[in-house]
Structures are given as C-alpha cells and as structure tokens.
C-alpha cells in the first residue's frame, strides 16, 4: 500500500476572514474551501483544470482552485463567490447576471463571476473581445455565452456609474420584421 497522506494545518485568509483548517497535504484549495471551510459556492466540473467552474481569486488573480494545493494558499488573499456581495447588497456583476438571465442552472456562474470581477478590476470598460478572452477558459452548458458577455458589459457600466443598458431585444423578442411581399 502507498503511504497515506499526512495532514497539515494552515490559516487561510478567505474573503478577508481567517479560517484555521487542518487537511491532508495533497488536498486542493477547491477541496479545502468546500469541505473544510464549508464554502460550497465554489463549484467543480472536472477537477482537472478544464472547466473553470472552480475559479477563485488569489491575490486578485484568477486561479483554478482544483489545480492549486491548499497548502500553497496560506498567507495569500483568497476571494470566493461568497465574498462578492457587500453585506446584503449584490455586486453589480451579480445584479446584472440575475436580471439578464445570464445564469440558468447557475453551476458555472461562481467561477465566471470571479473571473469577471478580476477583469473589471483590471479593465473597468472592457470590450466584448476582452470579455470573451478573459472568460474563455470557462465552460457554460446552458446559456450560450452571449448573455454572459452582455451581463459583464452591463455590470461594468453599472460599476462605472454609466447608465448604459443592454438593448431591449436582450429582454424582449426582437420585433417581428414585416414579411416582404
């Protein structure tokens, strides 16, 4: 038999709160967030770095938490979906995603929101191309992506205090064109 894992301890700083945790050394940040800290908002779709569902921010940078050992995350500043809202107020990204129907099953959304947050911090007025590029490592099986891109644009506008909104056809049907005779 292989030697079984040893356990280690760490104090993880997650969403500005300290979590003292003990875990097997080989466990990933994803596992420790979900299993030791009870922060199940961070999801998994592969645990192989392929889907992006597990993305969190570490020192402001996007990280796939399934590919990072929790043991490496001590002394770092970890941000997860649970820390996105301020008290009971939603972050503009959350408002935009909820109101635009950019979340369907919602399973891929925590990862996407964290990446979008990092993007907006870097680039308050991102182009469509920049948004697609920033999120291109994440898979969503429900939405078809376009609505997510639009929601990020909307959130960016909200965060800048700009009153730009997605066009009406993002909420209603495009009005039926008249059939040419």
């Amino acid at each position: 038999m292989k030697a079984r894992s040893t356990t280690t301890t760490a104090v993880l700083k997650i969403n500005d709160e300290d979590h003292a945790v003990a875990f097997p050394v080989h466990h990933t940040l994803l596992e420790v967030l979900r299993e030791e800290c009870g922060l199940t908002g961070t999801k998994h779709g592969c645990e192989l770095g392929e889907c992006g569902a597990c993305a969190v921010l570490v020192d402001g940078e996007p990280v796939l938490s399934c590919l990072m050992l929790a043991a490496e995350a001590g002394d770092r500043n970890i941000e997860t979906i649970e820390g996105l809202q301020r008290n009971n107020d939603l972050h503009p990204l959350q408002t935009a995603f909820a109101d635009l129907g950019a979340t369907q099953c919602g399973y891929c959304i925590p990862g996407i929101l964290m990446l979008a947050k990092a993007l907006l911090e870097r680039e308050p007025d991102p182009s469509e191309g920049q948004i697609r590029e920033a999120l291109s490592g994440n898979l969503c099986r429900c939405t078809g992506y376009n609505r997510i891109v639009l929601a990020v644009q909307w959130a960016a506008a909200m965060a800048r205090g700009d009153d730009w909104r997605p066009p009406p056809e993002a909420f209603h049907s495009t009005s039926l064109p008249q059939a040419s005779a």
Binding site: K43, E50, L84, T103, C105, R132, L139, F171, S173, A179
Partner: protein, 852 residues
C-alpha cells in the same frame, strides 16, 4: 352594490391585456441564490458521519464476471463496507418494458464503466484507494461495437430479451397508401444520413446523498430531473414502501436529459444509508459522467420522399437504425421518436416508418435535448433543401407550400393544434434578407434554412396510469404569503419562476410573497419531472387551476365582507379591490384573513392530465402532446475553401412560444439551444475506440474529458437574433408553449444547408466537421460528387408493418388488423382535421374515435 358604470373585473388570463407579470421580463426567482453561491446543489450537501462511495467499474466492454475479490480492499484504511450486486438483485429501468439494469452488475458486464462493486469509506480518498484494490476476473465475450456489428452478430446476446439477437427493438409502421403515393410522385428523392451520438455534458457531475432516518425510512438528495421516477425505482429495488422513501431533487446543475434515468449510484447510496445507518454520498467524476451517458443515440437513416412538381409531398419512407449502447434506458421511446414527429411540420399524406435499436457494448444512450427528434429532423431538412434545388423552388417557399395547417390530425394521428411556423419562417426570411441574399452570396459565404417542431410534454406518462401528470398545492394563511408545493424539478430552465409567476399573476401578489417547495416526494404533489418539455404546460395548467380555486375562495369571502359581487373584484398589486373604485378593497393579507375566517384553513389543489390523443395503434403512445412548438432558423456561414474551416456568423431564429411567460428566460432557452445545436452540428462526438487488441479487448470512450470532448466556448458563438411568435395556444397556461428543446432542432440542418449554399458541398452527416467539408471540396475539385456521408443503409428486416389508415382515408386511429378498427364514413372524414374529429365526436358518429 356595484356602481352602474363599473364593469366586472377581468381575470388574469391570456385574453387579459392587463397582465402584470406574465410577458414581462423579471428576475428569475432563484436568480439571487445562483449568483451568490448560496444555492446548494447535491454535492454541496454534507452531513455528520457521512461516508463516501466509489464504484468499481468494469474495465471490459462485454464479459461474464468470474470472480470479485474484495479481501485486500476490505482491509484498507477507512473502509466501512463493500457491496456487490447480490445485495440489490431487483432489476430496474426507466421504462417498464426495459427494466434491464442492476445497480451493481450481476454475473455480467455490458460496457466499460458498468459498475460491479461499491466501496464505502470514511473519506473519498480512502474509498478511491480501496476501489482500486478490488480485483475482478472477467471471462471476455465478443464486443458488439456498432449498429452494423449488432446486425451481423445475433450471438452472444448482450441481453436475453429484446426483439431478436442484439436488436432491442424493431418498429414498422405504415400510415396510408405509401406505395401509391410514391407512384404519384414526379420526383422521388433518397438520402442516407448519419447523425453521430453526443452527450449532455452538464457542468455539474451527478451527485447523490442518502440519509437514513429510521430502520426503514430514508431520504435521498440527488441531482435528478425526475425525482418521481427515482422514487419509484428506489421503492422497487429496495423493496420498501414508497411512503418510507423521500426523494428530494436538488437544483440541478444542467441536465439536458442526462439526469432523467434512475441511476445506479442513487440506488447504491440509498441502500447503503439504510444498511449502515449513516449518511452516504456519491459524486461522479467527470470521466464517470461520460460513461453513464444516456445521451443522443447515433442514428443511421435512410429517407425517401415523393414530390410533385409543385413541391407538395406524396409519401415518405423513413428508416432509422439506432446505436443504443448497453442498456434500454429510454431507448424504446427514443426509437419511436426517430419517426413520430416527422409529420408535424409539413403535410405528409402517407408515411412509412421503420426503425431498429441495437444493443452495443457502450454506455447506454437515452434522451438528450430533443430526444430522438434531432436526427430525423436533420435528415428531413437537408432532404428538403435538395428537393428545393431539384424542383427549382426556393427552400423557404417549398416549406411554406407544404405547411401543415393548424388543427390538423397528421397521418400518424397526432393532433397538431396551433402552429406559428408560417410566421416563424417569414420572420427569419425577412430578418436575414434571405430573398435578396440566398444563393447570391459570394463563394464561401452561405445561408441555410431549417425548421422543426417539438412536443410540449409527452402525452403519456412513462408508466401507464390514469392519474394527473402534474399536481400543485397552495397553502395560504393570514401572513399573506402563499406557499406553492409542486413535484417539478428546477434544472436551470426556469420552471420555479414559471410556477411562481403563474400563481402570483392570478392572485395579484408579488413574487416576493410566494414561497416555493418543489421536487420533494414527501411534501409535494407528484409532477413527473423535467423532461419532454412538459413543465411549463402541464405544471402551468395545474398551477393555474390551484390559484384560480384560491382566488375564488378569497373572492367569496371578500365579496361578502365588502358587499361587492365576487366578479367585480380585482386581484392586483397585493390587494383585492372593487373594479369600480380601487380604494374600496382589502390588502391581500386582509383578504386571506377574511377567507381563513370564513372557510377555515386555506389550501387548494390543481392538477393536469393531457387530453387523450386519437392514435390507437401500437406505438401511438409516443409523439402525442397537448400542443407543439415550432421553430425556424437561418444560419449564415463563411467557409474557407482552402481548409474547409468555417465560421457561423449569425443565427436568426424564430420560435412559436405560444405566449412568453418571462421573455428574458425564453430568450435564454433559445440561445442555449442554439449553442447546444451548434456544438452538435460542428464538433461534439461521443466516440469510442478499440484499444490495441494484444493489450486489451476494450472499447473505450475516445475523449472522456471536458478538454478533449470538444464543445463550443466563449469565442465560438455567433450573433443570435431571436423572434418570439406568440400564437396563444388554447391548451397552454396563458397560451404558453415550450422553448427548452424545439429551438435546437433546426440548427444542425440549417448549418449543413448553409455550407452547401457557401461552397456547394453536401455533408450528410453530423457533426459537420471542417475536415469533412474539405473532403467534399476536394472531391468537387476533382469533378466528383461533392457529397460526404454514409454510402448506404444496411438491409434490415424490420418485421411486418402495422398498417394504419390515416384520418384522410377515414381511419379511426387503429391498426387495420385491429379487430376493433372501423373506417370512419361520412362527417367530412376526408379532411382529417381536429375540427372534423370534434364534430364527429359530438355527433357520436364514429364509434371508435375515443372509446377504448
């Protein structure tokens, strides 16, 4: 008393222009929990003393199990129990006709991934390690790896049941005078087409947690679309009364049909929880999700249609062969679905449908978004494109000429009520500039059109019964809050929001005052689940009925208290008030207090049972639906003639939604369908490969990872223009139809047609991979036929056809050799419309129309 100038209040209904919520975009009721990380999916649950299960899965595709040695594994650290098949001897399966699965294999395995043992341990790591230490000896049997092999290899049989050899199901149906139809045709067209299998790929891996509550009471939390069917399967396999089992469907992280079967891991954790008296959890790895599959069947098809010069059709003959994988799953239904809806879009006077589903040593196939319909729809819509060219009729015009009129009964006895397909085609034709641009774009650029239709709920439940298919209960009390109980499962499609909105609209309250309790078999009335696009229509109707009954009670009480006739009361803005003087009224909670005082504790129920469809032949149970949705789509594509690589630039899609309950969610379903359709059309393949024979007899998934199984990403999506056509269907709640599946159907054929318009290459198979386009281009350059696709359809004996006279022929929906069959005479039977049928019914003219 009412003032003389006041009018009775208009109730919230589809005719009421003053709907406040229905038709207006609103934030989905689970929207907030889905952006905050608050919502718990099945794998997010954990309980004290919970143990973890890993399944030992077969490494060979087809074998007898000689021996399972667990001695080593039992000694491993943390191992609590190891369970083998003998402990769960009762077979199960979603369809009563194919209960061919065991939670853990007994004596035999049928595909790589078939579970043979379950290891429970204190941690997931320990369970994993111990599972690796379980040694299984197999006696390997020949591998059936394809439809063709199954046809040629009746022995050894993968299953001991089924129509013959390794053919699980054979279907042969003939509606009307098919041969005569072909004789009358000016042009007969034939196509052989292949649609590769693909998989749902939900981002959430399946997970299930069971918690024992007593010696014989247990709760299962699972990522399932069909808690009711899981409930039934558990009662059957565990042999304990269903009343002792509680199944709660957690919010599902994407289903698309992939979480509609009862799964072995669900049964195993429930059994183990009862055995061990502690919570048990299983979460599948991504690789396991690929192997439990139940996705799109690979289907080989041959389609032959007779056309007159004017484009009208005289007859159609469709043959399909499905690669079913190792178990039945929904396969018998899938087999019928490869033919059933073929008649719903265009008028087909005579139709022959033959099908066969083969067992193969691969993960079982089942329902994926569109269930059995996308494959023949692909064949049909590219076939029509070719016919249009041959007949020199514009493809849009050809379809318009053939449109099935509203209120028709089709050749195979489906009642098609409202149809907005004409408006759909007209919308995308106008929106895309089709008339000016189709066939006229520069080389390399093209437009393609295709249509589709889908059910709004399967007319029949999966097991035969006379009970409602959806039930809703309301609980109202003095708080003014309304609790809604319903067995439906939210899988991301927005069914919770539809449920809440319908009740809130009818009672005139805000969504915030509505509480939902759903998908809990202990607490909620049965709804059959989230499949066949049934929820909006069926649950919606049940919710309307429950809410209307509550409104009636409240109106009685308020009317009496304020001395206003009930029908002059308006329910709106969280108030109940007099239509002639809005100031005269009560708040909604005061109104409920009045009703509670008068009638006692308040609760109402609503239920929905679909109308019975007219078909009475064997197989008529698959295809009927209360109504059908319709879609038309046009894709614009740019193809690089050097490489075959292409880009879809724009999709125009119009969908007959009946009535949009929440347009923003309807648009989301359309976009998601376009996305999933493009994935299937361009790249997705559930493919298998043999390992080198000297190393292993195995047949394994070619790419069981999210990286290797190619699916579209953020960079791959075209612009989408969506049009909603509202036909206000009389059978839909507030007129609504489905949108979750229909819009996927036209995408694949529209792409094939667009590629043809762009470069003149016909790819008669899905996915339309760029290398196939290139192959076609190279053939074209050499002056050969610029077509890529299967060469021929195998010789198959489908058995003797069941002959059924069509409505037009005066049939009665029964097979001709059915002793009860009668030909209808008189009463305008020749038109075969729903109206005529109703008329005949009223006059009790035709004995056999509804009686049975």
């Amino acid at each position: 008393m009412p003032k003389s100038d006041s009018k009775p209040a208009v109730k919230a209904s589809k005719d009421n222009p003053e709907l406040r919520l229905i038709g207006t975009p609103f934030r989905r009721v689970d929207g907030r929990t889905k952006v905050t990380g608050q919502l718990q999916f099945a794998d997010d649950l954990s309980f004290p003393r919970m143990v973890y299960v890993k399944l030992v899965r077969s490494t060979v595709p087809h074998a007898n199990i000689k021996n399972i040695d667990c001695s080593e594994a039992r000694k491993m650290p943390g191992v609590v129990d190891i369970m083998l098949g003998e402990e769960l001897p009762v077979p199960y399966g979603i369809l009563p006709v194919s209960r061919d699965e065991h939670a853990l294999a007994i004596n035999k395995v049928r595909f790589v991934g078939d579970p043979v043992a379950a290891v429970a341990a204190l941690t997931e790591d320990q369970a994993h390690e111990a599972a690796l230490a379980v040694k299984v000896k197999y006696e390997v049997l020949p591998t059936i790896d394809s439809i063709q092999t199954a046809l040629k290899t009746p022995e050894p049989r993968i299953h001991e049941y089924g129509d013959e050899g390794n053919l699980h199901k054979k279907v042969s149906l003939e509606f009307g005078a098919v041969d005569e139809g072909f004789e009358q045709a000016d042009v007969v067209l034939e196509d052989t087409v292949f649609f590769q299998g693909n998989t749902h790929l939900p981002i959430e891996q399946h997970a299930a947690v069971a918690v024992a509550e007593d010696e014989d009471r247990v709760t299962l939390y699972s990522s399932t679309q069909t808690p009711h069917y899981v409930h039934r399967a558990l009662a059957r396999v565990l042999q304990i009364p269903a009343s002792r089992i509680r199944v709660i469907a957690c919010s599902v992280g994407g289903g698309f049909g992939g979480k509609t079967d009862p799964f072995n891991h669900e049964i195993i954790v429930t059994k183990l929880a009862l055995k061990l008296g502690r919570p048990v959890k299983a979460t599948l790895t991504r690789e396991e999700v690929f192997y439990c599959h139940r996705g799109r069947h690979p289907v080989l098809m041959n389609l032959r249609t007779g056309f007159r010069k004017d484009g009208s059709m005289t007859a159609q003959h469709l043959r399909t062969a499905l690669d079913g994988g190792g178990y039945g799953s929904y396969g018998v239904a899938s087999t019928f679905y490869t033919g059933a809806l073929q008649t719903t879009t265009y008028t087909l006077p005579a139709y022959r449908f033959e099908a066969v589903r083969a067992f193969t040593n691969k993960p079982p196939c089942g329902p994926k978004r569109g269930h059995g319909t996308p494959q023949p729809r692909f064949a049909y819509e590219i076939h029509l494109d070719k016919a249009a060219e041959k007949l020199r009729i514009d493809p849009a015009e050809l379809r318009l000429r053939n449109l099935l009129p509203a209120n028709s009964v089709t050749a195979n006895w489906l009642e098609v009520g409202s149809t907005g397909l004409r408006q759909c085609i007209e919308a995308v034709v106008a929106g895309s500039g089709w008339k000016e641009r189709y066939g006229k774009l520069p080389e390399g650029r093209g437009l393609g059109l295709a249509c589709g239709a889908y059910m709004c709920g399967a007319g029949l439940p999966i097991y035969w019964n006379h009970m409602p298919q959806s039930g809703v209960q309301l609980k109202l009390d003095r708080s003014g809050g309304v609790a809604i109980f319903c067995g439906q499962a939210e899988v991301g499609q927005g069914s919770d929001s539809v449920l809440a909105a319908i009740v809130a609209e009818i009672l005139g309250i805000s969504l915030a005052d509505v509480r939902l309790c759903v998908a809990d078999t202990d607490l909620t009335p049965v709804d059959l689940g989230s499949y066949s696009s049934r929820v909006t229509l069926m649950m919606g109707q049940a919710a309307m009925q429950a809410a209307e009954r509550a409104r009636e009670l409240i109106a009685k009480a308020v009317g009496a208290q304020l001395e206003i006739p009930e029908n002059y009361l308006v329910f709106a803005d969280n108030r109940v008030f007099y239509s002639g003087d809005p100031d005269k009224g009560l708040s909604f909670s005061e109104a409920v207090i009045a009703a509670e005082a008068r009638f006692g504790t308040l609760g109402t129920t609503g239920s929905y049972t679909p109308p019975r469809a007219p078909g009475r032949y064997r197989g008529a149970g698959v295809g009927p639906s209360p109504t059908y949705s319709f879609t038309a789509a046009i894709l614009e594509v740019e193809v690089d003639p050097q490489t075959g690589l292409y880009n879809v630039d724009h999709v125009w899609l119009a969908h007959d939604i009946g009535r949009a309950i929440n347009p923003v969610l309807v648009l989301g379903q359309i976009e998601g369908s376009v996305y999933m359709g493009l994935g299937e059309a361009i790249m997705e393949e559930q493919e298998f490969r043999r390992l080198p024979k000297r190393l292993s007899p195995s047949l394994v998934h070619k790419m069981p990872s999210l990286l290797e199984y190619k699916s579209p990403g953020f960079h791959d999506m075209p612009e989408i223009t969506s049009y909603l056509v509202e036909t206000d269907d009389e059978r839909g709640p507030f007129g609504a139809k489905e949108v979750g599946q229909g819009p996927l159907l036209p995408i694949m054929p529209a792409l094939a047609n667009a590629v043809y318009d762009a470069v003149g290459v016909r790819v008669d198979q899905v996915p339309i991979r760029p290398d196939l386009v290139l192959k076609g281009l190279q053939a074209k350059a050499k002056g050969k036929e610029a077509r890529v696709g299967p060469a021929n359809f195998p010789e198959i004996d489908f058995g003797d056809p069941v002959l059924v006279h069509t409505p037009e022929q005066g049939g009665d929906g029964r097979a001709v050799d059915d002793p009860k069959a009668k030909r209808r005479t008189g009463v305008g039977s020749s038109t075969g419309t729903m109206k005529e049928r109703d008329q005949a019914l009223k006059e009790k003219d035709s004995a056999a129309l509804t009686t049975n």
